[in-house]
């Protein structure tokens, strides 16, 4: 079942944990995995237009790569920005590899909707949530990824700029356009009780 929960809970990852990961400590790595798995998986799902199978693969690749690459992490940047740069690159690589992104509706029919109990349908909030996911999936990646980094990961504009290797102004501009496109695509929900 999908759950919505507080993002950016207390981060237990400190220099000690990262150093242990660099030394190859499996338990420390599992701690790191437990801390970031939901956020990384969420980005992968949204980036893959809701295809959970693809998101599963991408998430695995990210953490496997992280396990190797963390030995090269020197602490020159924040760990989170370094991690999310890996995530963004993996999602973009996956997109390039597949060369096509399935429309959200096709995926939803086989993945997310099958997990819902029938009575859940009656709640406006769920429907809005689903409409938002669909609208997000229709955004171009350059507008979609900043929105995911902002709302799933809770990164600041500056952190998003570092992750996406662009200026803070570009982040602001892309978020503006992303928000604007979301508003247009979801205009039919303007009078919804949940908005």
């Amino acid at each position: 079942m999908e759950q919505q929960h507080a993002v950016m809970a207390q981060e237990p990852i400190d220099g000690e944990v990262i150093e242990a990961c660099r030394q190859g400590d499996r338990e420390a790595f599992q701690l790191l995995f437990e801390t970031y798995k939901d956020k990384v998986f969420s980005i992968a799902v949204y980036a893959a237009n809701g295809d959970r199978a693809v998101a599963d693969d991408v998430t695995q690749q990210i953490f496997l790569k992280l396990f190797t690459a963390i030995r090269q992490f020197r602490g020159d940047s924040e760990f989170t920005t370094w991690l999310y740069r890996l995530v963004v690159n993996a999602c973009l690589d996956e997109r390039r590899r597949r060369r096509r992104w399935l429309p959200w509706g096709e995926i939803v029919a086989t993945t997310i909707s099958t997990e819902k109990r029938p009575q859940e349908r009656q709640f406006d909030r769920l429907e809005v949530s689903e409409a938002v996911r669909e609208a997000i999936a229709e955004l171009k990646p350059k507008f979609r990824l900043p929105i995911l980094l902002k709302y799933i990961e809770g990164l600041s504009y500056e952190e998003i700029a570092i992750v996406m290797n662009c200026s803070k102004g570009t982040v602001a501009s892309r978020l503006n356009r992303g928000h604007s496109q979301l508003a247009k695509r979801l205009a039919h929900l303007n009078n919804s009780a949940v908005v």
Partner: protein, 395 residues
């Protein structure tokens, strides 16, 4: 007035990414620029949707698959009890947080409510009631709850950290929502007085015939038993809106609303009674001849300060009537450079806004209390705008 358009900064403003000075300039610009306000509304709408994007839960099997992928790469690692304990602790915390998330998510779904949070309410007189319960000195008004006063009770609501609203006798209001990007009350009947020191368009009051959008101000709003209302602004500006109809009401001015029509045309309260009667006829009468006669009367009686009313009428009349209104306004204050007669008559919004900026001088020059610049500076300090933007930027 900060004249450069601020559309590129709208998301950054909504998310507290601007410096206090930038946020102040943004807020000032939004008050006066209809173009940026429209985009601000749209992007704010998008922000509110994006905020509902849920964080998903990774499959339980993921770690097993990753661990298999790791193979023997980490077999020589030191497994110490401290890490095992910390993994278990993190897993437990995530489980609890996830559980609370589910509880919150479904709890809200059942109640049909969006926002957590409530406002503190203080009784000013008698025993107001929240829902069906009367309260003594203090109570809390939750989202979706009604606050009601009778003939002998009054109350004051603390609107989060952005202002206060006094509720007069025989009034019924509901807290619709309280979110970082929007606080909204519904006034079903009665009278409230709001003093808001937040950036523009953070506080709204829904009435049966219009929505009052705060633009950094103080005002009173009354709604009668038939849903008709009147807004009186004592400081700053308030926008009274319904669908595409918008009336910008500055301090010293008022605006009436009617069910089925929406906001009428704003007028300064020191306008001649005959001018006000004519305006009421024009705004709310169905009879075309009566409306035409009322327009004629207004064009004869209008003072320089009544260009507030005439400027709004430009978009509410057509053909020759619009030309006559244009000529009347231009007789008081000619359009500034770059604003053409043709552009205004075609309702070019940018030209209309620029002319309004020029007209504002005459709207407030007659004010015997304070010169506009002094009054605005006074209000800016008083309403704590700077304090509010600092709060946002500190988040």
């Amino acid at each position: 007035m900060f004249s450069k358009h601020v559309t590129n900064d709208i998301s950054a403003y909504c998310q507290g990414e601007l410096s206090p000075e930038q946020a102040r300039q943004f807020a000032e610009h939004i008050i006066s620029c209809a173009k940026c306000r429209r985009e601000f509304e749209e992007i704010k709408f998008g922000v509110r949707f994006a905020e509902q994007l849920p964080c998903l839960v990774a499959p339980e099997t993921l770690w097993t698959e990753i661990e298999a992928g790791l193979g023997s790469a980490g077999e020589n690692s030191t497994v110490n009890r401290q890490w095992q304990f910390r993994v278990a602790a993190v897993a437990a915390v995530l489980l609890v947080v996830g559980g609370l998330g589910v509880w919150w998510f479904w709890g809200k779904g059942f109640k049909g409510q969006l926002a957590a949070g409530s406002w503190q309410v203080q009784s000013l007189n008698g025993a107001p009631q929240i829902g069906k319960k009367k309260f003594g000195a203090q109570g809390r008004l939750g989202v979706g709850e009604w606050l009601e006063t009778d003939a002998s009770s009054r109350a004051q609501i603390a609107v989060g950290s952005i202002g206060r609203v006094n509720i007069d006798e025989n009034t019924r209001v509901r807290l619709v929502e309280t979110e970082p990007t929007e606080h909204r009350l519904e006034l079903a009947r009665g009278k409230l007085s709001a003093t808001i020191w937040a950036p523009p368009r953070l506080f709204f009051v829904d009435t049966p015939s219009a929505v009052a959008a705060d633009l950094g101000c103080a005002y009173t709003l009354e709604v009668d038993d038939h849903g008709a209302g009147v807004l009186r602004v004592t400081a700053g500006w308030v926008a009274l809106e319904l669908k595409d109809r918008e009336s910008m009401v500055p301090r010293g001015a008022a605006c009436e609303t009617r069910p089925g029509v929406g906001p009428g045309t704003p007028f300064f309260e020191d306008a001649q009674p005959s001018f006000r009667r004519a305006l009421e006829t024009f705004d709310f009468e169905d009879d075309a001849a009566a409306r035409a006669s009322a327009l004629n009367s207004m064009l004869v009686e209008a003072r320089s300060r009544d260009t507030l009313t005439l400027w709004h009428l430009l978009a509410r009349v057509e053909g020759d009537d619009r030309v006559r209104v244009y000529d009347k306004i231009a007789g008081f204050v000619p359009p500034p450079d770059g604003v053409t007669r043709e552009g205004v008559l075609q309702l070019d919004q940018e030209m209309l806004d620029r002319w309004k900026d020029a007209l504002e001088v005459s709207w407030f020059a007659d004010n015997p209390v304070l010169p506009k610049a002094v009054a605005e500076t006074y209000w800016r300090v008083k309403n704590g705008l700077t304090r509010r933007v600092r709060e946002i930027s500190d988040k």
